[in-house]
């Protein structure tokens, strides 16, 4: 059986952009596909088409060689028959039902005993014991998010669709739950599609990533690939983080972490709850270039390297540097001329510790949970 998801849809919105999305994705578990893009890009619409809640004017959707939608032959599989777990952005918990009632809601085909057992199972998995009798409105945001997730997975769906699963939470809760969600998705091993506009989320959760902008899929690849090797200027603009490399935390103290990347040591702000393996992310605007031999500055990281390439982006110039790993920097044209930056020239890249973002890596977590 070809475990593949094929999506090719066109949906018109009068007076607005047209969604025209095309991609193929393996459903060999565990795969988490991230639909990444700015808000209003059409990610949610694509997800809703996958859920059967929205019907494109033209298109074809198939999963596991089962046609879910085919406008040419008039096939429209309703959401009830797709065996999916769908989690809407604001969770859409039923206010009339308790937590347990919400989770048991879709388990009508089970006997009362089986249903009870499954509810307890899912409650335990998501650490929701003790709140099962409460109403959704009595829960914290993080708890609501977990109840919504519990409800979505209770029926053993074949495909999990999560729309901005963490965006309704405040920032500290979000980074905590991001780790939990990563572990959970790994544990469940259900093929998943996750919509997000947060690049840290994309890196932390995704195996594959599709960049969507203005209704179109621009690039599909592993998150690291997409971030560090954007296909074109538009993708680069959408993802906004030019340097993503794998690193290893070798020391962590006083809120600062020392990371080793390809033999080079970098100082970054420490992240909570991560294993030693991390993605090191640096935005090109945050990299300051200096000529070799300038004294100390407040920046914690001074990387000696060599200019590899220079490409013009209007008023700004993007400089590719080899400093053990490849690093992108964005400088103005006049700075380029003053520093005499040309391919082959030596250069020092200065980066503040706060501009070096660490995102816990899936692989690292996998070995922890296994």
């Amino acid at each position: 059986m070809a475990s593949e998801m094929i999506v090719d849809i066109t949906k018109f919105f009068p007076g607005r952009m047209t969604i025209d999305a095309r991609f193929t994705q393996t459903l060999e578990p565990p795969t988490v596909l991230i639909l990444f893009g700015p808000s209003g890009a059409g990610k949610t619409t694509v997800l809703r088409c996958l859920a059967g809640l929205e019907w494109p004017e033209r298109g074809h959707i198939a999963c596991w060689e089962e046609t879910w939608l085919d406008t040419a032959s008039g096939v429209r599989l309703p959401p009830q028959q797709r065996a999916i777990g769908y989690m809407a952005q604001e969770y859409a918990l039923f206010p009339t039902h308790s937590v347990a009632g919400n989770i048991a809601y879709g388990l009508g085909s089970l006997t009362a005993d089986e249903r009870q057992r499954r509810v307890v199972e899912v409650l335990t998995l998501l650490q929701l014991q003790g709140v099962e009798k409460l109403r959704p409105a009595q829960l914290s945001g993080g708890q609501q998010q977990r109840v919504a997730l519990a409800r979505a997975i209770a029926r053993h769906p074949r495909l999990l669709l999560l729309d901005e699963p963490l965006s309704a939470l405040d920032v500290p809760t979000r980074s905590k739950l991001r780790g939990e969600l990563r572990t959970l998705l790994k544990q469940l091993a259900i093929p998943s599609v996750v919509v997000t506009h947060d690049w840290e989320e994309a890196l932390a959760l995704g195996d594959q990533m599709a960049v969507i902008s203005e209704g179109r899929v621009l690039q599909v690849g592993t998150p690291q690939d997409v971030f560090s090797r954007p296909l074109n200027a538009e993708v680069a603009r959408v993802v906004g983080v030019e340097t993503v490399v794998q690193g290893r935390i070798i020391e962590s103290s006083n809120g600062l972490a020392t990371v080793e990347v390809a033999g080079t040591k970098l100082v970054a702000l420490a992240v909570e709850g991560s294993g030693p393996d991390v993605f090191v992310c640096i935005r090109a605007e945050d990299v300051v270039l200096e000529t070799v031999g300038v004294g100390t500055t407040s920046a914690r990281n001074h990387l000696v390297g060599m200019v590899r390439e220079v490409s013009s982006l209007g008023a700004l110039v993007r400089v590719g540097i080899d400093c053990g790993f490849s690093l992108s920097a964005m400088v103005t044209r006049s700075a380029l001329d003053e520093l005499h930056l040309a391919p082959g020239a030596p250069v020092v890249a200065a980066i503040k510790a706060g501009a070096v973002h660490l995102v816990p890596r899936r692989d690292g977590m996998a070995t922890v949970t296994a």
Partner: protein
């Protein structure tokens, strides 16, 4: 009371359709349902009388089925009051359904629950206040109906004489004491019913926290 129950059966699906359909000509049906609100009862009664009379196809069909014509019987009265009270049931129902968040309904669908089951498991519990309001209002409205009843039901004792017509008869017979008693009875019931409606719609007493 029977009218209210029949209205529940007819009104809920109709209200569901009115609330959820995206059909562009929906407003045509909406205005027909609301028509009894503005039409003089005698006009409505007249048309109903003609429609169910022994000369109309509907009336002939009923006569062949039951053996006697529909007008001036309790069944005929029931039919008329259902039409007449339809907006009083359907509009609160539809308003309540309109307020049910669509994403909740979608969540139910993605959990494998059919549209019909979603209606009973989710939409009805979420619009309980509106459904009760519609029921009570249509009951009260039927109780106080005068014009249509007189047109379609006639005024046959024990069969089609309603409370409001009874008052009219008493006044015509100059029996003010009798009329006063019945009128007070009707006033008390109407006030009680409206008390119930407003109490139910008070959010303070709602069964679950509402947004």
């Amino acid at each position: 009371m029977l009218t209210a129950l029949v209205l529940l059966v007819i009104g809920l699906p109709l209200a569901y359709w009115l609330s959820f359909s995206r059909w562009r000509w929906k407003f045509l049906v909406e205005s027909v349902v609301a028509l009894p609100l503005v039409l003089p009862p005698t006009v409505l009664g007249f048309y109903i009388l003609v429609a169910i009379g022994p000369h109309s196809p509907l009336g002939r069909f009923y006569t062949s089925l039951v053996g006697h014509p529909l007008p001036f019987t309790f069944e005929g009265l029931l039919f008329a009051s259902i039409l007449y009270s339809l907006p009083f049931a359907v509009q609160p129902f539809a308003t309540a359904f309109d307020q049910v968040e669509r994403r909740l309904i979608e969540a139910s669908w993605t959990l494998g629950v059919s549209r019909v089951k979603t209606f009973f498991k989710l939409i009805i519990p979420l619009s309980v206040a509106g459904v009760v309001t519609g029921l009570v209002l249509s009951f009260a409205h039927t109780l106080g109906e005068f014009g249509v009843v007189l047109m379609v039901g006639g005024n046959i004792e024990g069969e089609t004489r309603t409370v409001s017509i009874d008052i009219y008869d008493e006044v015509q017979a100059l029996n003010y004491a009798g009329a006063a008693k019945t009128a007070l009875f009707l006033l008390a019931i109407s006030y009680g019913v409206l008390l119930a409606v407003y109490a139910i719609n008070r959010k303070v007493w709602a069964l679950w926290p509402q947004k």
